[in-house]
């Protein structure tokens, strides 16, 4: 892109940046099974997961893969950043691209 002008384009990509490690790898493995469109990239200190429109992190599935109990607050310990609209529930964390105003 170095010779191109910078630009803005509306996007519907959502995703997270996870601190690298065992839990991030478990989350990536679960997501790549459920979301064929997901893009997983590894950087020197973090792991990036992106997918179009919506992605749901199912904490029970991550727990099964890790072989130990796992919950939302523990996932948030490694979730360095996200883009999209987030919603935290007991057993899942949802990221969606739509903006919804509370009425």
């Amino acid at each position: 892109m170095s010779t191109e002008k910078m630009w803005i384009e509306e996007r519907d990509i959502v995703g997270v940046k996870l601190i690298a490690g065992e839990e991030a790898e478990a989350a990536a493995a679960v997501i790549s099974e459920s979301y064929p469109d997901a893009v997983i990239e590894r950087y020197p200190a973090y792991l990036s997961i992106e997918a179009p429109k919506e992605v749901v992190f199912d904490l029970r599935q991550i727990s099964e893969r890790l072989g130990r109990p796992y919950d939302a607050p523990t996932f948030l310990v490694i979730m360095s950043s996200y883009h999209g609209r987030i919603n935290v529930d007991d057993d899942r964390i949802t990221l969606s691209s739509e903006i919804v105003r509370p009425e």
């Binding site: 892109m1 170095s2 010779t3 910078m6 630009w7 803005i8 384009e9 509306e10 996007r11 519907d12 990509i13 959502v14 940046k17 601190i19 950087y43 020197p44 200190a45 973090y46 919950d71 939302a72 607050p73 523990t74 948030l76 310990v77 490694i78 979730m79 360095s80 950043s81 996200y82 883009h83 999209g84 609209r85 987030i86 919603n87 935290v88 529930d89 007991d90 691209s97 739509e98 903006i99 919804v100 105003r101 509370p102 009425e103």
Partner: protein, 516 residues
């Protein structure tokens, strides 16, 4: 952590009351010009119990790494990065502390309970971040080969001319309307810009062998995730009342620019000039994190509520093409008034810059050639002096009058109450004119040091080593002989404000002086 967050959230959000013993005006202390509906939401549904468990876990993991790094001492970090962190960490800790104070203000002024809850936890987060950064400073001071500069980091955040950029930013968000603070700090600075630094540059930290900083950055940003949600929740609450639309627009117009000049320009300088083993350019990072993720993935979607593109966004984009390089001309050009050792770019990096920023050499090549020729203390040449002295500083953002590019400045001046006031850009000028009293009291470098010999300025700032004469800053990592205050004095450089008036005429003509 077994209870249901969703159920508890439904129950707890109904517990709220208005006290009968105090009026609303007395209770809120500060008024806001925004309209605050009663209903809000916290997408994180965070409670104090989960919050503390979560933060304790973060701390355990991070401080284990700090302890391991202290024990092993095995890494061989990149000197350029470690020296640059002297400037970065001193400013970061000051910004975080200031942000914490703002959350307390906002919790007081903003009525909906769910939002207050999020802000109060953010107060604690920001205090945590300040401590994390102070601990990183302490670790680096003990482990790095040259602790000088780390030892005065907090003092320097208060008195360095470069730190003025971050002080001006923090003072702006500390003194504007408390709801505007949320939009500026949480939506623009924390959502749009903080990722570039804390996530994007965490890789650079790791590659530079500074694992402590990589971990510090990522554990900080894991709290920022909630802060982004606080900003989003505040914005969505405000959007329920159409009377807020023009007020929100005004805040975004201002803060998209303020966040860029006050924060992103510094980040881009770091990404391009403090990272030796380069991969992604600052401009590419801005495209990915700012334009794709923030503006493309979020801001543009607000159009359906009547929120338009920020007024100065085209200027942000134009500025981003050259911001890091122009900031580097300032930081390297003014090296004696900073407090770290400099590692100027080499030929291989110049080629990389030309590839990533076509035309780079024609705009900046001469500066770097001049810099390379003036690093020897015995030769006694100061790059700042030889290039015409320090330029004027913008009264709003405190960056010098050389943006977006030293050979194409957009700066201007106005006369106000007998003073000449400089601006770097039409955006900063317009922000000033909307609220002049908010910005006119900020003391620039020249208000403090106009007419001083540069050697006396350095002594006054306290940027000399233990022997009382060797400078903390050195223009190269390992000079043949370290520069001293006496070397600077021999250069005979008097700090002269380009805005200084003699018999009603500006001295030096144009404030546009320190250009290659």
């Amino acid at each position: 952590m077994a209870r249901s967050l969703t159920k508890a959230y439904e129950r707890v959000k109904n517990i709220d009351w208005e006290p009968s013993y105090i009026s609303a005006a007395d209770k809120y202390v500060e008024a806001t010009r925004f309209y605050l509906p009663k209903k809000a939401l916290d997408p994180f549904k965070t409670f104090i119990r989960e919050y503390f468990l979560m933060e304790r876990e973060k701390e355990s993991r991070h401080y284990a790494l700090l302890e391991a790094a202290s024990r092993l001492q095995g890494s061989n970090p990149e000197p350029r990065w470690m020296e640059g962190m002297k400037f970065a960490l001193s400013n970061l800790s000051a910004i975080e502390y200031s942000a914490g104070r703002q959350m307390g203000r906002m919790a007081r002024v903003v009525a909906p309970m769910e939002l207050r809850q999020g802000y109060m936890m953010q107060v604690l987060d920001e205090m945590r971040h300040t401590q994390l950064e102070l601990n990183a400073l302490r670790h680096h001071m003990r482990s790095w080969q040259d602790p000088s500069g780390y030892d005065i980091a907090l003092k320097a955040a208060g008195n360095s001319v470069g730190a003025g950029i971050f002080r001006a930013l923090a003072e702006d968000f500390s003194t504007c309307d408390a709801v505007e603070t949320s939009l500026g700090l949480q939506v623009l600075i924390e959502t749009a810009y903080s990722n570039i630094f804390f996530v994007g540059l965490s890789s650079a930290a790791a590659q530079s062998g500074d694992q402590v900083m990589a971990s510090t950055m990522l554990t900080i940003q894991s709290d920022e995730s909630r802060h982004m949600a606080n900003g989003y929740a505040t914005l969505m609450t405000l959007l329920q009342d159409d009377r807020n639309i023009p007020l929100i627009q005004e805040a975004f117009d201002k803060w998209s620019w303020r966040g860029h000049m006050g924060f992103e320009v510094g980040l881009s300088l770091f990404a391009d000039y403090f990272v030796k083993h380069k991969t992604e350019s600052a401009r590419e990072m801005s495209q990915r994190w700012l334009l794709d993720d923030f503006y493309g993935g979020f801001y543009k979607k607000l159009a359906k509520y009547g929120i338009k593109e920020p007024r100065w966004l085209p200027d942000v984009i134009r500025n981003s093409e050259w911001a890091s390089h122009t900031a580097a001309v300032y930081l390297f050009g003014a090296w004696p008034v900073f407090y770290h050792r400099y590692d100027p770019i080499d030929e291989r990096e110049m080629e990389w810059f030309e590839k990533k920023y076509p035309g780079w050499y024609s705009h900046y090549g001469k500066f770097w050639e001049a810099y390379q020729q003036m690093t020897d203390a015995d030769a006694g040449m100061l790059v700042t002096k030889e290039l015409g002295g320090l330029p004027a500083f913008c009264q709003v953002c405190q960056l010098p009058w050389i943006f977006p590019r030293p050979d194409a400045s957009t700066g201007s001046t106005i006369e106000r109450e007998g003073r000449t006031i400089a601006f770097c850009s039409p955006a900063c000028k317009s922000i000033f004119e909307n609220d002049p009293n908010h910005y006119s009291g900020f003391k620039t470098f020249y208000d403090l040091y106009d007419g001083w010999d540069l050697a006396d300025v350095i002594v006054d700032l306290g940027y000399v080593r233990e022997d009382g004469k060797t400078l903390m800053a050195q223009p190269v990592l390992e000079p043949r002989r370290m520069w001293t205050v006496d070397d600077i004095r021999r250069c005979r450089y008097e700090v002269t404000s380009p805005l200084r008036k003699t018999a009603g005429v500006s001295a030096g003509g144009s404030p546009h002086s320190a250009v290659p």
